[in-house]
Structures are given as structure tokens and as C-alpha cells.
């Protein structure tokens, strides 16, 4: 086929494109399939060729007002209608409204005999008639290769197909031709020889028992295109290709903070909690309380009137609700109010991409402010490392784009270096809480700490994490010379400290008593001494009085005896003065 590259060189404008309307495919091909040219879609059985082609046609008719012709070689109109109806496409209605013509080409090999030279003018006429009847801009031939099986003389067939593609180009319709994947070539009958403008390869691979579909643009003449293999999936509303490369880092951020539902944890995060729209990673070994923290977070958000979507990959909604009862969290009123929604699925149910698409869809329908994924790690078991990282990147970007706060729990195996095993994921996260077990003293105790929290002051302290029937509490862990002590060791250390204080107090009291006693003793001594002294001084006084009295008595006696001796008055006076002298010198 001749490449009309002159078209693109004549105008500075790029090759005209025909948007498919298929999510992601237009991004990869930067605008769609080449307009007015045939595109080959090839792939093995069951990889979604017909669906891709049908969606291209239906979306063309519905979204871009470009009627289309579907020439089906394998399925009847009824079958096709039923098949695409499951994706929400109303093929019948479109046919009725003359937006789409479905022409089922059926050739029964057993009826056919060759009797000479022939051409495919019948096919041309049918196609031309169908195109003209509704003014079709798009044509799908699904699957042309059936002709090789049902018509004899391959040489004629080949030249006729070559003519067909040239004719389609002349008609100016954008055509999609599906073909079965060949063993060594792209298609079984080498159709890529004729259709060389754009070739899309679909693939359905089973990796570790989980099938993932991939799409790759092998060739796109005259345009830049994504060359990678992109995972795609067939969901309830058609095909979505999930290009990672189309993601950009330009989402808006919010300065608003939201509480975690654990006041002490809020306090550790600068007193206000996490930023709205940030991504939070919660890692921990089994049984450290990841789900409980998540449920707390969910409850707190729902109580503020925010919508919370809880993806659970390990427990059923009822089980979570029941289990949370045991710590005093009542979630079912919130579920009833429509503020909390659970979505449970086994990780092995389908591939990573399907999970991602399902999550996107749930998020789109529920429009939550908070999304919890518990745990992200079990989801990651189903993909390879790079797939996982790609998926989480996409998920986080999607959530951040919608300013949705996301909490991911991540299970780490005991004995691993926690930081290392989560390195790939953690770089995508804004905040990282770590829950850890401390073993010792015949018990295990939980601790929590904030490993990182982008853009906010956060505590560097390890807190012991207590789960009781009243909920979660964080208490200070004992940190002393012997390291971090938790649980009974912390309690024992507390008791020890108390005992030490008590002993100190007792010692002080004892000393005080001793001093008191000494003081009392001294006082007793003092009073004894004083009483001695007083006794002695009293004695002294008594003696002095005695002496005085006896002197007086003596004088009196002497006077009396002088009187008795009847001495004259002169003698009396003399006697008195003698008595005075005698007193001075006894």
C-alpha cells in the first residue's frame, strides 16, 4: 500500500486523527486512529479484538456523530448485539436510529464450490451500499480472515483484499480490521502486508494464574505513539487502557487537616492530623492493629459527614463491622447512613488491572472524601513489582487528583527490615505510620510511631498503642537506660519507680521522726536541768531564810536575855551595835 505521507507534509498539521472514545487509547495514540485509513487490530483468541472494534464503532456513533458499518464475518447481528449489550452499548437502538449498520457475512464452506475466476465485488457492493445508506465514516471488518477459510483460491483472495483496502482508503472511511494472531507473523494470513498504516496488537497473558490483557501500538505511520505495552481491561462500560505515562504531577493540594480519630495520634502530627488529600501508609506486622487504626480513621471521617470508601481485600464487610464492635467502634449506623461503604474482593479474583478499574469505578460512583485500602499488600501479590508500582502510582494520582485522602495499610512480614521492604511504595506516600510489635517479658506489645509526615511537624516519639474494649489509646512508652519498655515491663518499671519514691518518702519521714525525737530528748534534758537548778536555787533560798531566821531569833533571844539581866538603857544600845558587828563577821 502506498503511504500517503504527502498529506502530512503538505500541511504543517499532524495527521488527522479519528478519536476512538476508548478510555486511554486516544492518549496513547495522541488523538485516535488515523482518519480515513485502515487500522489492523490483531491478537489471539479472546483478547478483545471484536469488542475494541465494536466500541470504536459505537462510541463513534454516540459520541462523535460518525455513523459506522460493522461487517461481521463471525457473529450474527443478534449475537453481537447481545455481546456488546453487556457493556452497556445499545447496538439495536443505534441500528434502528440508522447510526450503525450491521451486516453479517456468512459463507458456508460446504455450500460453496469454485467454478472459475471470481472477485469480491459482492462484498464491495454490500459494504458500499451500507456505507452510503447511512453516510458511514467508520467501518469495522471483523474478522476478514474468515474469508480465507471459506473461499477457495487464496491468490484471488489476496489480490481482492489488497483492492479492498485501497478502496476503503478511497472511500475515506476510518476502518478497523481485526485479524487473528499468527504464529510467526502478526496475523495468520499476513494481512499486515496490506494494512500498514496502523497496527494494534492485543494480547492476553496469564501470569501466575492471573490473566492480564495488554495493548501495544506496533506501528502508526506518520504519528508519534506510545510504544509500550499497556495493560487494558474490559469492564462494565467497555475497554479502558491504562497508560501510566499519561499521569502527571500537577494535582492541587489542600492545607486542610483532618483528624485521625485517635486524639493522641493527632497530637503526634502537630496536633491536627493529616492533610486532606494526602496519602497515608500504615505498615505493620500481622496483628499490630492496622485495620483498627483504619476503622478508627473511617469512623472519624464518617462522623464528620464525609463519605468513606473502604476497600477490604481480606475481610468481608460484616466481619470488619463485627470485629470493630469488640473495640467499641460501631460502624453499621454509618454504613446505613450511606457515609461508609465497604467493597470487599479477594485479591486473586482478578488481575491487578481489573482491581484498579473496579476501584476507579467505585470511586467514581461513590465519590468519597476518604478511601481506605486494607491491605494494599495482598493486592500486590497478584502482580509483578513494576506492575504494582505502576498501579499504586496510578491509584494515588487518581486519588490525589480528586483530593481524596487515602489510607493504605501494608502488611510486613515479621523479621524483615520494614523500611526496606516498603521502600518502593513509601516514596509515593506523604505520611507513614509504623505499627510494630515489641516482644519481651513473655508478651508482645504494640507501639506506634510516625516515620514520616510530609509538610508537618510530627513527634519523633514512640508511643505504646493500647487496644481495649473502649478503643485505641496511645500512652507514653517508658524510655530509660534499659531501652524502650512497654506493657508489663512498663508497668513494672512504673511500680519500681513508685517503690523508690515511696522508700525515699519513708526515709525522709524516719529522719524527721528521729530529729523530732532528738529535739524532744534535748528538751527533756533541758527541762531536767532546769528543774535541778530550780531545786537547788530553792534550796539555797531556803537555807538563806533559815540563816536569817536563826540570826533574828538569836538576836531576839539575846535582847530578851539582856532585858532579863535588866541592864540600863546604855547597855542596851551598846549591845545592839555589837550585834550588828557580829552579823558582819560571823
Amino acid at each position: 500500500m502506498k503511504n500517503n505521507g504527502s498529506k502530512s507534509s503538505a500541511k504543517k498539521k499532524l495527521l488527522p486523527k479519528c478519536p476512538t472514545g476508548i478510555q486511554g487509547l486516544d492518549e496513547i495514540t495522541s488523538g485516535g486512529l488515523p482518519r480515513g485509513r485502515p487500522t489492523l487490530v490483531c491478537g489471539g483468541a479472546g483478547c478483545g479484538k471484536t469488542l475494541l472494534a465494536a466500541e470504536f464503532l459505537v462510541r463513534g456513533a454516540v459520541q462523535f456523530d460518525e455513523p459506522g458499518v460493522l461487517m461481521a464475518f463471525e457473529e450474527t447481528e443478534k449475537e453481537l448485539t447481545a455481546n456488546v449489550a453487556s457493556l452497556g452499548f445499545d447496538l439495536e437502538g443505534l441500528v434502528r436510529r440508522k447510526k450503525i449498520v450491521v451486516d453479517y457475512v456468512h459463507i458456508e464452506r460446504s455450500e460453496v464450490q469454485e467454478s472459475g475466476e471470481y472477485d469480491l465485488e459482492g462484498l464491495f457492493v454490500r459494504l458500499g451500499h451500507a456505507i452510503d445508506s447511512i453516510g458511514a465514516k467508520r467501518v469495522v471488518l471483523d474478522t476478514l480472515e474468515v474469508l480465507f477459510a471459506s473461499l477457495p483460491n487464496e491468490a484471488i483472495l489476496r489480490s481482492e483484499l489488497r483492492r479492498l483496502f485501497r478502496w476503503l482508503k478511497e472511500k475515506g472511511v476510518t476502518a478497523v480490521i481485526t485479524a487473528e494472531r499468527g504464529r510467526e507473523s502478526l496475523t495468520r494470513h499476513g494481512l499486515e502486508e496490506y494494512v500498514s498504516d496502523c497496527v494494534i496488537l492485543l494480547d492476553h497473558r496469564v501470569n501466575d494464574q492471573i490473566a492480564t490483557r495488554h495493548l501495544r501500538v506496533v506501528k502508526y505511520r506518520g504519528a508519534l505513539h506510545g510504544t509500550n505495552e499497556f495493560p487494558f481491561l474490559i469492564g462494565n462500560d467497555g475497554i479502558s487502557v491504562l497508560p501510566i505515562t499519561s499521569l502527571s504531577l500537577n494535582h492541587k493540594v489542600s492545607g486542610e487537616r483532618i483528624a485521625t480519630g485517635i486524639p493522641r495520634l493527632d497530637a503526634m502530627l502537630g496536633g491536627k492530623g493529616f492533610f486532606r488529600g494526602s496519602s497515608i501508609l500504615l505498615t505493620g506486622t500481622p496483628g499490630t492493629g492496622k485495620t483498627i487504626v483504619s476503622a478508627n480513621f473511617a469512623q472519624a471521617a464518617a462522623r464528620r459527614g464525609e463519605r468513606v470508601l473502604f476497600f477490604s481485600f481480606e475481610e468481608s464487610p460484616d466481619q470488619i463491622i463485627r470485629n470493630m464492635h469488640s473495640i467499641g467502634l460501631r460502624l453499621e449506623p454509618l454504613v446505613k447512613k450511606g457515609l461508609l461503604r465497604f467493597h470487599s474482593a479477594r485479591p486473586s479474583l482478578y488481575g491487578l488491572e481489573m482491581h484498579l478499574a473496579t476501584m476507579f469505578k467505585e470511586i467514581a460512583t461513590f465519590n468519597p472524601q476518604v478511601v481506605i485500602i486494607d491491605p494494599i499488600t495482598s493486592l500486590m501479590d497478584s502482580g509483578t513489582n513494576s506492575e504494582n508500582k505502576g498501579m499504586i502510582t496510578r491509584l494515588i494520582d487518581h486519588l490525589k487528583g480528586g483530593q481524596i485522602t487515602s489510607l493504605f495499610t501494608s502488611l510486613t512480614q515479621g523479621g524483615h527490615a520494614l523500611q526496606q521492604s516498603e521502600a518502593a511504595m513509601s516514596s509515593l506516600m506523604d505520611s507513614w505510620l509504623l505499627l510494630q510489635d515489641f516482644e519481651g517479658n513473655g508478651e508482645r506489645n504494640r507501639v506506634l510511631y510516625v516515620l514520616k509526615a510530609r509538610g508537618m511537624a510530627h513527634s519523633n516519639q514512640i508511643r505504646e498503642f493500647l487496644i481495649s474494649d473502649r478503643g485505641i489509646d496511645l500512652v507514653d512508652a517508658y524510655i530509660g537506660p534499659s531501652g524502650v519498655l512497654t506493657g508489663s515491663a512498663r508497668a513494672a518499671q512504673g511500680a519500681l519507680e513508685k517503690a523508690a519514691v515511696l522508700a525515699g518518702q519513708q526515709e525522709a519521714a524516719r529522719l524527721k521522726r528521729e530529729v523530732e525525737r532528738k529535739r524532744a530528748a534535748i528538751e527533756r534534758q533541758i527541762s531536767g536541768l532546769r528543774s535541778d537548778y530550780e531545786g537547788e536555787s530553792a534550796e539555797l533560798r531556803r537555807i538563806a531564810e533559815q540563816v536569817g531566821t536563826s540570826t533574828l531569833m538569836l538576836t531576839t533571844e539575846r535582847t530578851a536575855s539582856g532585858i532579863l539581866r535588866q541592864a540600863d538603857a546604855k547597855v542596851v544600845v551598846h549591845a545592839r551595835s555589837r550585834a550588828k558587828n557580829g552579823k558582819e563577821n560571823p
Partner: protein, 120 residues
């Protein structure tokens, strides 16, 4: 359905002597679809008319359609290749595609003994 355009054969077929009593009372129903007045079309038409005249005289109902003129017929009759000769009766339905240059298969299918050499 459009009836055959009566095209006179170039050469009158030789009269057939054989008795037709063994033939089924019902007529053969043949429909030929061609695309335009190409050499291939003309060839096919001539061959099938020759056959009708030679082998199935009076018991053959032949219709020739040009799908350029009636494109809707192509879809209704599941025509892909042209020319296509559809033998509708007697059943089963058979399709002969091509310009009928090789007519042996047709004879076998129609259970005809090749009495007369058909040449065009």
C-alpha cells in the same frame, strides 16, 4: 425478483431427443448474481444460459441479477464473491462462485449426465 433478461444464445442449442419423464416435475431454480457488465459477468451469464438451454430446457427457472443495480440483494442473498450462481432448488442450497469456466462440479451437483458438450 426480476426475471431474466432474455438474451438469445449465440448458437441455437441442438434439440434434445431424450425423454424427460424421469426428471422431477418441479423446476430447477437457479439464480445468478453478477456485478456489472464485466467480461467475467458476461461469461458466467452465457455459461449458465447455455446450460439451461442444453440440459434443463423448460425445467429451469433462471434469474440473473446485477448487484450494482440492486445492491440490497447482495446482502439479502449473502453474496460475497461474484459471479455467484445459487442453486435454490432442488435442495440443498449450493453456491458456485466464479465465472463458471469449470462446470463439471455443477453437473455433479445437479445430478446431470453430461449429454451435450457445452461450449461458449
Amino acid at each position: 425478483m426480476k426475471s431474466v433478461k432474455p438474451k438469445p444464445t449465440r448458437r441455437a442449442a441442438p434439440p434434445l431427443e431424450k425423454s424427460r419423464s424421469t426428471r422431477p416435475a418441479k423446476k430447477y431454480v437457479l439464480r445468478l448474481f453478477v456485478a456489472g457488465a464485466t467480461n467475467r459477468s458476461r461469461h458466467a451469464i452465457l455459461r449458465v444460459q447455455e446450460l439451461c438451454n442444453a440440459e434443463l430446457k423448460d425445467i429451469c427457472d433462471l434469474e440473473v441479477f446485477d448487484i450494482y443495480q440492486q445492491p440490497a440483494l447482495a446482502r439479502a442473498n449473502q453474496i460475497v464473491a461474484t459471479p455467484t450462481l445459487i442453486v435454490e432448488f432442488p435442495p440443498p442450497l449450493r453456491r458456485f462462485i466464479g465465472n463458471l469456466a469449470n462446470i463439471t462440479g455443477l453437473f455433479v451437483e445437479l445430478d446431470l449426465a453430461k449429454k451435450v458438450k457445452i461450449t461458449v
